[in-house]
């Protein structure tokens, strides 16, 4: 592979020639990457003489389909993959598509313990397997425009009740406090209220609890309905031009978004000027002791269970997720605690943010990450989008339809229902 590159992000700036690759100890691994991770793999390749990586770029939406073919054919199966979509973890650890390796025996417990709280929830199964390591944390926190807040005399909300009151007040001034359209933020509203979309509450990964009838769940849905009605939650998704235009016109007061929303959306897409963006803790209901935050993404690395070189696979995955030199330069919040601390300095010293505690908020609220945030063979997002998009009726009235849809999907995907 190309080893002449001097990699800016990496710990090493190696000029290792790719000769000597034939030496007996060298292990050859095939890795499938998206374009964003190619340089990181190359850095690994350059820093490790004993492991030679064959890097293939694959379009993330095609990855599972290509893997299914490769698994059927038994050839060209990659040793390591990156999964941006966590449902892929579930899809690739079934009887029919048994791709993912259980890393629990191969990766040092110290490495596992080094991850931030709840970071590995998408990887750990109820029966104690470890199917992946997390690249980045992406739980929901509160992003707000400090200038708009001060100008309008608003206080930053700490509870969902305060959030709703703020939303209605903001709507009267023509401001918005987020979107009522995008699936992930909606899932956050609902799961924070206690909606059980399909969680393996027991110790069997194949038994799901699906219950959207709880009082907290209904309460959350009704809050969304009222905020949609008052116009506080935009009817557009956050990446739609209509929403982007509003944000650029200084209409976006606050957004309950994931940790990457500031660096990746508000800054480059909404182009909010320097010195205005600030963050605060994930929201909780007034009668609850602490918040529960769903996440939006946060990719993971996994390995092939029949790889000829499980140790090397574990080494690649560990390095990609925990190498401080690599992760501290990442664009998203590292899931590994030590890397995350190194990453902190970049964010804290960035004059773009109005306050220097943005990272501290992210780290503090990692504790409140939803314990069942993971990918399942039931795609919660798709079900929510389908049912909510079917009519303009209030979300609260559609909860029973949504529950039925989720239960049907669970059965099709060979889950048992706990209730």
């Amino acid at each position: 592979m190309m080893k002449f590159q001097c990699l800016t992000a990496a710990t090493t700036c190696a000029f290792a020639l790719s000769v000597g690759a034939a030496s007996a100890e060298t292990v050859n691994l095939t890795v499938w990457s998206d374009t964003a991770r190619v340089t990181a793999y190359e850095a690994f390749d350059a820093a490790h003489d004993d492991i030679d990586l064959n890097i293939v770029t694959v379009a993330p939406p095609d990855q599972v389909a290509k893997l299914q073919l490769a698994l059927q054919g038994g050839e060209d199966v990659p040793d390591v993959i990156f999964m941006a979509d966590l449902t892929h973890v579930a899809q690739l650890s079934t009887r029919r598509a048994n791709y993912l390796m259980d890393l629990s025996g191969i990766i040092d417990q110290s490495v596992v313990d080094g991850f931030l709280p709840n970071a590995l929830s998408p990887c750990q199964t109820p029966d104690g397997r470890l199917l992946c390591l997390r690249n980045d944390l992406a739980h929901f926190i509160v992003w707000y425009d400090e200038k708009l807040m001060t100008e309008n005399g608003f206080d930053v909300p700490a509870t969902w009740e305060e959030f709703e009151a703020l939303g209605h007040a903001a709507a009267e001034k023509g401001l918005i406090v987020g979107t009522g359209k995008q699936d992930a933020p909606l899932l956050n509203f609902l799961t924070a209220g206690g909606c059980e979309f399909g969680f393996p509450l027991g110790n069997d990964a194949n038994v799901l609890t699906i219950d959207l009838s709880g009082a907290g769940c209904v309460r959350a849905a009704e809050m969304v309905d009222r905020l949609r009605a008052s116009g506080a939650l935009s009817e557009h998704g956050p990446f739609e031009p209509a929403f982007v235009t509003e944000a650029k016109e200084d209409k976006l007061l606050l957004f309950v978004g994931s940790t990457w929303f500031g660096e990746h959306v508000i800054r480059p897409v909404y182009e909010l000027p320097e010195g205005r963006l600030a963050a605060s803790d994930s929201l909780r209901w007034a009668d609850e002791a602490q918040p529960v935050a769903w996440s939006w993404g946060g990719g993971v690395f996994g390995g092939y269970t029949e790889s000829a070189h499980p140790e090397a696979v574990a080494q690649v995955i560990t390095w990609m997720t925990t190498d401080i030199g690599l992760q501290s330069q990442a664009t998203t919040m590292p899931a590994d605690a030590a890397s995350s601390d190194a990453w902190r300095d970049r964010i804290a010293n960035d004059p773009y943010y109005a306050r220097d505690d943005v990272y501290d908020v992210m780290k503090r609220t990692a504790d409140f990450g939803h314990p069942y945030y993971a990918g399942y063979r039931v795609d919660f997002s798709a079900a929510l989008v389908k049912i909510d998009g079917a009519s303009n009726a209030p979300l609260a009235d559609k909860l029973s339809d949504l529950e039925a849809e989720l239960k049907n999907l669970a059965r099709i995907n060979r889950y048992q229902l706990a209730n």
């Binding site: 998206d34 379009a59 290509k66 073919l69 054919g73 050839e75 990746h264």
Partner: protein, 297 residues
């Protein structure tokens, strides 16, 4: 066409006006996306959102966009374009060799299984990709033809639609008497095809060649199934990789490589332009073939 053979000049005027209004509306409808796309290539990310739909950007931003694309992985895009050209030239040539004579034979002669072949051809045309993905993959793997130029070319040479175009063309446009008289003169079937049918097939070859090229150049499915090495990717697969994993369209994917919407648009143009070019060129041949065809009457 302006000859006044009709009985109601006024009605004729109305007909012509209505026709031009409809054609004009269709023209606007079809051209809008193309014009938009061409203009959009000159805009920056934020101009795409903020400026009006037909805003004209600047050459500078096009150059900046192109630079981002070209520097991606040491101009890997150039390699993909080269691969696409190889796959297409090979696939189109083979598909012409296979489809045109086949359509001719099916149209002119009657023989056992003729109808069966036509029906199977029709079935092949309407078979969904999902159904053949796994079989084709396993079959090509068994033959050692995955990740190879030959495998892609063979797979794309199968072009049943071309056979149908040829079939219909010879049924409608080739006088049977011409073939029969040549047969009486003692020519073999193959000679008849070479000497009588082929010279009259200019428009057909242009048509089949063009559609075969379109299908080949934009083929996503076969490349998706058969290729698992970056350096063998075709343009459409490469662009999908580029677009989808760089967050150029959705922002869910966090990445800092400079591939965004303007790059996606310019990359898209890269896929489109050769098709347009080939279309314009082949149109000329269709017309030229038509003139030579007219002499037959």
């Amino acid at each position: 066409m302006a000859r006044s053979t009709g009985k109601h000049p006024l009605q004729r005027f109305t007909n012509t006006t209505v026709m031009w209004v409809i054609l004009g509306a269709a023209f606007v409808f079809y051209m809008t996306p193309i014009v938009w796309l061409l203009l959009a290539a000159f805009r920056t990310e934020s101009e795409l959102f903020s400026a009006s739909a037909f805003h004209i950007g600047s050459v500078d931003s096009l150059l900046a966009t192109w630079n981002n694309l070209a520097t991606y992985n040491d101009f890997l895009i150039g390699e993909w374009a080269f691969n696409s050209a190889v796959y297409s030239v090979g696939g189109v040539s083979l598909s012409l060799v296979a489809a045109v004579p086949a359509g001719y034979v099916l149209a002119i002669y009657d023989f056992p299984f003729r109808r069966l072949i036509l029906v199977l051809t029709l079935i092949a045309m309407i078979t969904p990709n999902t159904v053949v993905a796994l079989p084709i993959y396993l079959q090509m793997q068994a033959l050692g033809l995955t990740n190879s130029y030959l495998g892609m070319i063979l797979a794309t040479a199968f072009f049943p639609f071309g056979v149908y175009l040829a079939f219909i063309y010879y049924v409608t446009s080739l006088p049977r008497a011409l073939v029969e008289s040549a047969r009486i003169d003692g020519a073999t079937r193959f000679e008849v095809f070479l000497k009588i049918a082929l010279p009259l097939s200019g428009p057909l070859i242009a048509l089949v060649g063009f559609f075969s090229f379109l299908a080949n150049w934009s083929n996503y499915f076969l490349a998706f199934v058969l290729l698992t090495r970056d350096e063998l990717y075709s343009l459409p697969i490469g662009l999908a990789v580029l677009i989808s994993s760089s967050g150029a369209l959705g922002n869910d994917v966090a990445s800092d490589i400079p591939i965004n919407r303007p790059e996606a648009i310019v990359a898209a143009l890269l896929v489109i332009l050769p098709v347009l070019l080939i279309f314009l060129v082949s149109q000329r041949y269709v017309r030229a073939g038509l003139l030579s065809g007219a002499e037959k009457g």
